[in-house]
């Protein structure tokens, strides 16, 4: 087990930021920590990293108790924070060299690692640039390079794609998968469910410091009743027909607004076919039809009654 957290409690005055939370991160996985803003993700990460005091519980990393002076553990951890933490007075190369040098003393080895990190994040053309000359996306890449240059076994990324353009976001996500393939265990926190769904092998959803659910994305989706959501555009329906639709097998919710129909089905077979057959029989014309499988947002919605981005 790379990380083991047991019964962790962290309070800020009367507010419980982490509420009796336990988790395990296994070797070689990309573990996603998903939750809305303020759900306690960053607090949990800071507790794991021994930056924050906590009220109760225990944390071990690589099988040893985590502590501020546990340097033998820290040397194998790389952290990429939500906000960029680089020195504006140092070039791209110097920034990476500085942070790498806090972990690696040997100059020759460090030089090699810095070159590899620059190569990894694609900043070769910008190595002598100062951070202020870099775009937001390139700055994020530099931030990542500073966190991973020493080739850590465990990499923790705390919302690394906040305020990043789609191209840079894809670049970052691909990089995380590559790091994982190279052998690093990844803990990835985000409130973007698409990202977590895209790259994480196991996901924990948290809200108000508590675990909502844990599992693979398939396991999480299987925990809820929603099987499929069908949307039909430009369709004219009367109240009678809407009632008929509501009586279709597995239909759990029907919404009709501005000539757009959305039917949520529970798990079952032929839900889409049943709906199309009905419209055809009633000679109802319609525009585009979409069928969507449930998302992690639906999981969050079903467990908390709120949208993930509320």
């Amino acid at each position: 087990m790379v990380i083991k957290v047991e019964n962790l409690v962290k309070r800020y005055g009367d507010l419980i930021a982490v509420d009796h939370l336990s988790l395990e991160v296994r070797q070689g996985e990309i573990f996603g920590l998903l939750g809305p803003n303020g759900s306690g993700k960053t607090t949990l990460i800071n507790c794991i990293l021994a930056l924050l005091k906590y009220d109760k519980g225990s944390i071990s990393v690589f099988g040893k108790p985590m502590a501020p002076d546990a340097y033998d553990i820290k040397k194998d951890i790389g952290v990429i924070m939500q906000n960029v933490a680089v020195f504006n007075e140092l070039t791209v190369y110097e920034n990476i060299d500085y942070f790498c040098g806090l972990y690696v003393r040997d100059k020759t080895e460090r030089k090699k690692l810095v070159e590899e990190a620059i190569d990894f994040v694609g900043l070769n053309d910008f190595r002598s640039f100062y951070p202020k000359k870099l775009s937001g996306g390139l700055l994020r890449r530099l931030n990542i390079a500073c966190g991973i240059a020493h080739k850590p076994k465990l990499i923790i990324l705390d919302e690394p794609t906040v305020a990043v353009d789609p191209q840079s976001r894809n670049n970052i996500l691909e990089g995380i998968v590559r790091l994982n393939r190279l052998g690093a265990t990844i803990v990835y926190t985000s409130h973007y469910m698409e990202e977590v769904e895209q790259i994480c092998s196991r996901i924990m959803i948290i809200d108000k410091g508590r675990i909502i659910a844990t599992g693979t994305k398939e396991e999480l989706k299987s925990m809820i009743n929603v099987g499929e959501i069908v949307s039909v555009e430009s369709v004219e329906l009367d109240q009678n027909l809407l009632d008929v639709i509501r009586r279709l097998p597995n239909a759990s919710q029907v919404d009709y607004e501005n000539s757009n129909l959305t039917v949520t089905f529970t798990k079952g077979r032929n839900n889409l076919l049943n709906l199309m057959d009905l419209l055809r029989k009633e000679n109802i014309s319609y525009g585009s039809v979409y069928s969507k499988l449930p998302t992690l947002n639906d999981v969050f919605l079903e467990f908390t009654g709120r949208q993930l981005r509320d």
């Binding site: 800020y12 960053t42 800071n46 990293l49 021994a50 930056l51 924050l52 005091k53 502590a67 501020p68 002076d69 340097y71 033998d72 820290k74 040397k75 951890i77 952290v79 924070m81 939500q82 906000n83 960029v84 933490a85 680089v86 020195f87 504006n88 007075e89 140092l90 110097e94 060299d97 500085y98 942070f99 040098g101 806090l102 972990y103 003393r105 500073c146 966190g147």
Partner: protein
Amino acid sequence: MFAHVFKYRMKCFLGDRVTLFWTMVFPILLSTLFLMAFSNFSKATSFTGIKVAVVNNDAYQENRMFQEALDSVTEKQGDEEQLLSMELVSLEEAETLLDQGEVHGIILLDPDIKLVVNQSGFNQSIIKSFLDQYQQVSASYATLFQMSPELLANRDALKDYSANYDFLVERNPGKNETDITVTYFYALLAMTALYGSFWGIRTVNEVQADQSMKGARVNLAPVHKMKTLLAGILAAWIIQFAELSILILYMSMVLKVSFSNQVWCILLTGLVGSLTGITLGTMVGGLIRKSDGIKTGVLLGITMTLSGFAGLYFASFKYVVTKAVPVMAYINPANLITDALYALYYYDTYERFALNIVLLLAFAAVFCLLTYLSVRRNRYASIPSIQEGD
């Protein structure tokens, strides 16, 4: 590891143009402005010989001793300014000059020495003091000759005796001339030394996880926080000392501000003053867990107040404060820096200088201790979200 952190701390500080401006360029500009302001000030306060008319009559021509006494205060000797500026004229001309305000008084030998003035004042008092002193001396001579007539023949003995008299020549208790303007320049140097606290704030912020994201990164690395803090303090100290040395050189070589010739002692003052300033910054940065702006504001308030008490705004304020609250001279680091420079400039002994240096070191030690106590914590109660570019 220490060398690695130190190297990059130096690079970061040398690239920090804003702090470099406030800790080096700004004091240089301010010292230049001081010079421009004080050049008129010193002209206004510089001493010129008091104009006096001496009536050229027979009594004057016969009194060789009085002529010699007048020569001793009207001729410029070395760097000393002449006390009197004499015009040898007839009685009528002397009266005209006095009426026109061209002279402050008339000295008339008739045969006794008389002083004629139109009004009483500082200059008239000085002329009178000179004449009183002369009369005292000449009376002493007369008594001496009466008691020992053989002295009249012994010119050498007479010469020795007269050589013991200086007529109203002002002398400093110290080795250099009093110059009120140096108070301002020394206080400016003290202010600059305390501006080292801005480096101190930055140094401490960048090792505290609850103060900056860079600090969080340092806390996550397998390196003792105190090691990175010490490397930062050392880098800041070297830069601040270099800046202070440049300022001293500029003041001394370009602005011609008077300093002691004991270069090593001046440099020691700069070295210790810089350390005190930097550790003041690390202490404030460690104790106050607020934004950078608030910390800088607090430090600016502290340094400007302490520099003010050391005579930065009004030179005499320094003495008023020291007279009213003597302990202030010893608990104000800015005052200790200015006093150390004064002690070197004015006094022949090192006692006062050494006391100031020891007290400055004591301050630095206390600031270091408080910095350590505030920074040593390993885990934080909370880590506020710190925005990009913190």
